[in-house]
């Protein structure tokens, strides 16, 4: 793969990973806050927390998939 517009586009596509980064940070901080208020609720928080993490992170994965398509099948 030499330098062409597809590689530049792949790099630009990953800028979209800012969103999930912020979202995950906010989600995690809220989970920590809830845990700090009530440490016994760790079991009840855990499953919805992991679910929320996965759904938010999926958006970042979509950006990655666009970048991969551009690298491997672009230009």
């Amino acid at each position: 793969m030499e330098g062409n517009i597809a590689s530049i586009a792949a790099g630009l596509a990953m800028i979209g990973a800012i969103g999930p980064g912020i979202g995950l940070g906010i989600g995690f901080s809220k989970a920590m806050e809830a845990l700090g208020r009530n440490p016994d609720a760790a079991g009840a928080i855990f499953v919805p927390y992991i679910l929320g993490l996965a759904l938010t992170e999926a958006i970042g994965i979509y950006c990655l998939v666009v970048a991969l398509i551009l690298i491997f099948a672009g230009g």
Binding site: L51, A54, E57
Partner: protein, 279 residues
Amino acid sequence: MIHVEIAGETLFTIGWFEVTNSMVGAVLASLLLLAGAWYISSRSALIPHRLQSLLELPVEWVTGIVEGSTSRWRSYVALVIGLFLMILVANWLGLLPGVGTIGIRHTVEGEEILTPLVRPAAADLNFTLGLAIITFVVFVWWGVRVNGPIGYLKELVGEPRYMAPLMFPIHLISELSRLVSLSMRLFGNVFAGEVLIATMLALTTATLFVLPLAFFVPSIFLGLELLFGAVQAMVFALLTMTYITMAIAEHQGGHEPEEGEGREHRDAESEHRTAGSPA
């Protein structure tokens, strides 16, 4: 330079059927699970020995989570446990030495590339798409089976009936996008982990300080992949459970109640079934 293929590379063909290296990885993971299950069940005891209690650990943990979802959890707990164990073993198998590194070296267009013999199964979109299709069919089937086909479509239309032309396409697309998101999430995570490890292992050719970079840095990323492989397996299984739970629930102003309300919900569910069965 590093060469990673996004699709599984074909090792050999049997007639028209191409066997790729990620298929080999999937078959290895299945064989490992089957061998473990056969061994454990042939020597199971009421007071479990160490290997049995080791393998009961994920089963009990996942069952503990699935128990709190609906009152009919026994019907789908096997699917959730199976998905969890399959993806877990497939992901962790990709971290063993030799996977992704031992292969056939050949030259393509003047560049020498290595085709690995075994590749982590979930690094192939076919594998993750297959699992996502299973999950999709299962939760649509559950929705139709519990609420009836008319009830399931009414679910998609939504509560204020005049909002139907707006809400119906939105709900339909969000249900279909679950298929895409499940497969893409697992594939993206595992494939990105593969590329990451390949990049880290290739660092040795680019530097003078060989030992720290050849040993410590890849092992950090192997540990990261260990964690992410397990998390992605759990997320896939839990999302399957969540989608089935949401398909079973009746949206009468609330979602499926958590544990403690199972009995009331069971009565409400049977009442709804007799009252709302399609003509």
